[in-house]
Point group: C2
Chain length 150, copies 2
């Protein structure tokens, strides 16, 4: 697992699209156990007030969920899959990873948000933190420029 | 807190509407600390394949979220509020309750699904289980009639 994985690149692309829209730059993607990209999403709290998170994987308030965008797949499609997220998950998004029974969660960065890594591991989910500089800079810039939203 | 609370009645109404649509009869509602009904929702997995849960509060696969329907409210509106759900929450929905910082979760029944009550309490959330017969019958009938979906 690295920052050049297709799944992670899809998540970063979503985060960048969010930044371009003026939104929270948090993106995610869900990939099946066979490697199929099932869905991508990004936080949309700023854009439309949605409280759903960028991917059921992300960070803070609101987004278009990677899981929701992948909704035409049966639940079983997510089992043992990999969830990519540019920011360490909030309690809701961590719970979604558990509910959808993913095998692994790949996190871009957990400097700007953290705390659910151990909870995920307790549920048998492999947690990989990439310490990806692009993910970190996107969030740090947002928090610096929009402290009232964050 | 009782099964005749306005918030719980709103959740039951959503569950019944779901049953009438042939869907999973799981409903929820979110009420602010000052008593304002902020949003209601129901599981819509059968109806439209949505993987979002009935209320970010409910049970199993997919729904129109009470939190999502309440999205025009600021995040602070949910803090110390009460989340009503006809069925004990899944990990995602329990995580949402934690993320949105509700004070209390009122559960219709936890016979057909349970397991997150202690996790919620560990996060300082008061958990009230009503053992409501209407909630239980709605779920039991669905599971009996649609075992392949449940």
């Amino acid at each position: 697992m690295s920052a050049s994985d297709a799944g992670f690149l899809a998540a970063i692309q979503e985060a960048k699209a969010g930044a371009e829209e003026g939104g929270m730059p948090i993106g995610g993607a869900i990939v099946s156990s066979s490697g199929e990209l099932l869905g991508t999403g990004r936080n949309r709290f700023v854009q439309d007030g949605s409280l759903l998170h960028a991917d059921v994987n992300i960070g803070v308030q609101g987004g278009t969920s990677a899981f929701e965008n992948a909704k035409h797949h049966p639940l079983a499609a997510f089992k043992n899959g990999t969830l990519y997220t540019t920011l360490s998950p909030c309690p809701m998004c961590a719970g979604a990873a558990i509910f959808f029974q993913v095998k692994r969660i790949v996190i871009g960065e957990n400097k700007n948000m953290s705390g659910r890594e151990e909870y995920l591991r307790q549920h048998g989910i492999e947690v990989i933190v990439l310490n990806d500089q692009v993910s970190t800079k996107l969030m740090t810039d947002f928090i610096t420029n929009q402290p009232q939203i964050w």
